[in-house]
């Protein structure tokens, strides 16, 4: 093993190479790497933020949805109650009306019947008197047999 000037030459060569690496090679590479690292971490952070806001939006959506559902149920319930009431009122009114109509109809019918009966009775008695007068001539006058006629009419 012989030590000679190669040693010094190598030391100088090394210092030159290290200096070149230090000045021209290393910094740009490191810069690019750090820049990319920053970009990646920024990107990850942004993704995390987006995730969070999505979660928030989902929660808000669920809340709104629940509220809307509750409101809808409330409205439906109210409508049902109202409808039931309306139907109930209507049927009650209708029944009363029907009864009223029925009653008035009954009265009218009775009245008409009575009227008809009276008329019939009157006509009957007239017909009888007429007929009897025709048969008996003047023997029987209306005035003389009024009582009998009246009785007959009542019997009819």
């Amino acid at each position: 093993m012989n030590i000679n000037a190669t040693l010094l030459a190598q030391a100088v060569v090394m210092i030159v190479f290290v200096a070149i690496c230090w000045k021209y090679i290393y910094p740009p590479i490191l810069e690019i790497m750090q820049e990319r690292q920053k970009k990646i971490s920024d990107g990850l952070e942004a993704a995390k933020k987006a995730d969070d806001s999505l979660e928030e939006a989902k929660l808000a959506f669920d809340k709104e949805m629940d509220q809307a559902k509750a409101e809808a149920a409330e409205i439906l319930k109210k409508a049902n109650v109202r409808a039931t009431k309306i139907v109930g009122d209507a049927s009650l009114k209708a029944e009363v009306e029907a009864e009223k109509i029925m009653a008035s109809a009954t009265t009218t019918i009775e009245n008409d019947t009575n009227k008809a009966k009276e008329e019939l009775r009157q006509q009957m008695s007239d017909i009888i008197i007429d007929t009897t007068q025709k048969i008996l001539g003047d023997e029987i006058s209306t005035s003389k047999h009024d009582d009998i006629l009246k009785k007959a009419a009542e019997d009819l």
């Binding site: 030459a9 190598q10 590479i29």
Partner: protein
């Protein structure tokens, strides 16, 4: 072939660097026979070539992976993924050892050290004879011949391809880190605190010289162990590859086949060492520099 191929010459061939240097009489030579006569100013051309080539490859790869204007939000592909993985790995390690201390040099330094050493170590996985023989033929073709006394044949050309099996390379890197450690020790703590750290303990101020000797040993042992650990591991690995390769050349067919199997097993195991040693060198680099930044008394 100039000389007969023996076990010894084969191993020697693989462990000898292509050396160019100043001779003691003042001239310059690349002849391996002159190595003994060279002064300190000699260079292992092969180690330095591969070291610079692989370091350049590292810089080019990392520059190409993310050209200017690469959008931060585009999907990273292929090479960019590898580069980002390496940087994240280094950043994690720096973070765990350095904590809150701010120093923009540490991470690029650790990255350079890790990838560069990894690439240099990986040269060990290329079959031991492949590149030396190729380089030998190329060199012989272009500059060989009788007029060049030392390139008499492709085999006489030495070419080591794993820079980290050369102690000059590993200790050179350790030296650079040592210089950085001293620089940061002084600039962060101040020269006074740094001197105090080296002289005032473990025994207090009355035994300053003893303290200094002890601390100096501790201080200098760090870069030396850092460099030698890497060298030792890779040198041993390379050595085993060479020995396994010898089984193919010098023995019976049966041992030859055994050698192929062993080569595979050792290569697989060596991948672990290659990566582990690169990692250890990087981790210790960060740790030593972190120590240089520690201002608290202990």
């Amino acid at each position: 072939m100039a000389k007969e191929l023996t076990t010894q010459s084969y191993i020697e061939h693989h462990l000898t660097n292509l050396t160019c240097g100043q001779l003691k009489d003042g001239g310059w030579s690349c002849n391996p026979h002159d190595v003994e006569n060279m002064t300190f100013w000699a260079f292992h051309v092969d180690s330095l070539f591969w070291s610079i080539f692989l370091g350049g490859l590292f810089l080019l790869l990392f520059k190409r992976a993310m050209p200017k204007g690469t959008a931060a939000d585009s999907t990273p592909t292929g090479l960019q993924n590898f580069v980002e993985m390496s940087i994240e790995f280094v950043e994690d390690n720096v973070q765990s050892l350095f904590g809150s201390i701010k120093n923009t040099l540490i991470a690029p330094l650790a990255l350079t050290v890790f990838v560069w050493i990894l690439l240099m170590n990986l040269m060990d996985l290329i079959p031991v004879d492949f590149l030396p023989v190729l380089a030998g033929h190329v060199a012989y073709y272009f500059v060989g011949g009788p007029e060049h006394a030392w390139i008499t044949s492709p085999e006489s050309f030495y070419f080591k391809v794993v820079p980290t099996t050369d102690p000059n390379i590993t200790l050179g890197m350790a030296l650079a880190i040592f210089v950085l450690t001293i620089y940061y020790s002084i600039s962060v703590k101040g020269i006074k605190a740094f001197a105090a750290e080296l002289t005032l303990h473990p025994f207090g101020k009355w035994l300053m010289p003893v303290n200094f000797v002890l601390e100096m040993v501790n201080f200098i042992a760090k870069p030396i162990s850092l460099g030698l650990r890497l060298f030792g591991n890779l040198y041993a690995g390379e050595m085993i590859f060479i020995l396994i390769a010898l089984m193919l050349f010098f023995s019976s067919t049966l041992i030859g086949f055994l050698g192929i199997g062993l080569h595979l097993v050792w290569a697989l195991f060596h991948i672990l060492i290659v990566a582990l040693q690169a990692f250890i060198f990087m981790a210790l680099t960060i740790a030593y520099l972190a120590m240089a930044h520690e201002t608290e008394e202990h």
